[in-house]
Amino acid sequence: MKIVYDGSMESRAFKNVLGETILQLAAEDPDVIYLDADLMSCIGTCQWSMENPTRGVNCGISEANMIGVAGGLAATGFKPIVHTFGPFASRRVFDQVFLSAGYAKNDITVIGTDPGVCAAFNGGTHMPFEDIALYRTVPTATIIDITDVNMLISVLRQCKDMPGVKYIRVGRKFAAKVFADGEQTPIGPAIPLKEGTDAVVFASGIMVHEAMQAAEQLEEDGVSTAVVNIFTIKPLDIETVKKYAKQTGVVVVAENHNRVGGLYSAVCEALARDMCARVDVVAVNDEYGEVGPQDYLQQRFGLTAEHIVETVKGLL
């Protein structure tokens, strides 16, 4: 897999790529139906949906109903792709996702935008630090924390044809470019971005960029640090997690999520049996969100490269 990370930001915003990809999939596959709950304008799909109301269905501000409608469409053989903000795509519709989609075996793809601190100026009410934790308890669900726009395109294409409940969390703004354009990122395997022998950082979403910066600093400080992008939170690539944990003995998990129930929990569960490494976390410390610019919030909740460096050193 071609990694092109050099610290620079993508020129394309997630929200534009997300909207364009959904419309592209709808154009290619007549079974794709896109549903939204009055947030089409946030990803640039409103005009198209007005012109194609049977393919882009605006359900209004009624997320629970939207998930059920998606389930009913799935039962009729369609491939629903549902979008709303992260908290509404998880907390608000949890029972509907669990039963109307998961338990009933109605296969749907749910996209929750602006995860964690990416909700920025919408503040605490819109800031899901628990969406991964919730979806992890849905049996056999697939959970993806998107790294960059290229991965978003690749993952969306895979999800639409996969069975079960698929949850994709992704920001709407810009992220650091990690993967070469057109590169496929198969759902499941974790992606090593940088090798190292003293420590490993398992990172997802916006924390990948922070982890890469942290690893650079740590190298300068004489700590050889590997970085692995675990973008598929579930099913977790346990083999890769164990391999790097055994290889380094020092594991730090970095995620834009509550430390309860997310990637850190998943990694700890995977490592608990063998206890082959010391593990710590850079994540939200069991708090509610608050309003502010994303860079402020990353400082406020401890989601920066500096926090990763400190945490790795704390384990050495």
């Binding site: 389930g71 009913g72 039962a75 009729t76 075996k105």
Partner: protein
């Protein structure tokens, strides 16, 4: 409706009631009140309205039933068994370990069950999605959705109703089972839903009110819905919870009942005696 047709539908409703008592008798308990209240509707739906093939339960061109008050599964199972979807003997397995007939409807377990329901309110949205999808597929099918009046407490029901009207789902027929009772007592004492017919009209449904235990009235109301059109249909069925079995009808609390096998047997024999 002529007398012969009425007699046939009433007899089938009676057989459905006898079948569900077979289920409760075997297990000793179950959601008997709300199952009995919809037996007449199920008789009319399956005998006069719905297109289906018991040999091919997943036939795409079939009409679909979503029993959103999923706890009335035993009523639907009795109907499906009588129609030949599965052996009548299966009715004795209700809620037994490993059964294909669980308390609440499950489309992945029971042949002929078109949608999984049980968490109240959710079937309404699922039915809307099915109706929307059927129309997109260009099928002339109808989706029949049974909702309980207690279930109407759930906000999701009204989200779905807004959706159905806004998307002009004229292939959706909502049957509201107004039996006046929910688990803890009378609906008007718990969270009074007031005039559900007026509410459904206000939400954009073509609405009629009928005696939901009168097969003739149900038939006339359902025949109207064949016309389709731009509005979803609502049939507000005034029913009696526990209808047909006096011992259940008269019980103060009859949402779910536990009784000795002999009691279920007695009630079942009362119905069997009415067959001829």
């Amino acid at each position: 409706m002529d007398a012969e047709k009425r007699k046939e539908l009433e007899r089938f409703a009676l057989e459905i009631r006898i079948g569900m008592l077979e289920e409760f008798k075997a297990r000793g308990f179950g959601h008997v009140g709300g199952s009995l209240s919809i037996a007449d509707a199920l008789s009319v739906l399956y005998k006069t309205q719905m297109r289906f093939d018991p040999q091919n339960p997943s036939w795409p061109e079939r009409d679909k039933l979503v029993c959103s008050k999923g706890h009335a599964g035993p009523a639907v199972y009795a109907t499906l068994a009588l129609l030949g979807y599965f052996p009548y003997e299966w009715l004795k397995t209700l809620n037994q370990p490993g059964t294909l007939l669980p308390s609440h409807c499950d489309r992945n377990k029971t042949p002929g069950i078109d949608m999984t329901t049980g968490s109240l309110g959710q079937g309404t949205s699922l039915a809307c999605g099915m109706a929307f999808g059927e129309r997109l597929r260009g099928r002339d099918t109808r989706i029949f959705l049974i909702v309980g009046d207690g279930e109407a407490n759930e906000g999701q029901v009204w989200e779905a109703c807004m959706f159905a009207a806004a998307k002009k789902l004229g292939n959706l027929v909502l049957l509201m089972d107004v039996n006046g009772k929910q688990l803890d007592g009378c609906t008007q004492d718990i969270l009074d839903t007031l005039d559900l017919g007026a509410k459904l009209e206000a939400f954009g449904f073509d609405t009629v009110r009928v005696d939901g235990n009168d097969v003739g009235a149900l038939y006339d109301a359902l025949e109207r819905t064949r016309a389709g059109g731009d509005k979803p249909y609502a049939i507000v069925m005034n029913t009696i919870k526990g209808k047909g079995v006096p011992g259940v009808e008269n019980a103060k609390s009859n949402h779910s009942m536990t009784a000795p096998k002999e009691q279920w047997e007695t009630w079942q024999q009362e119905l069997i005696a009415q067959l001829d």
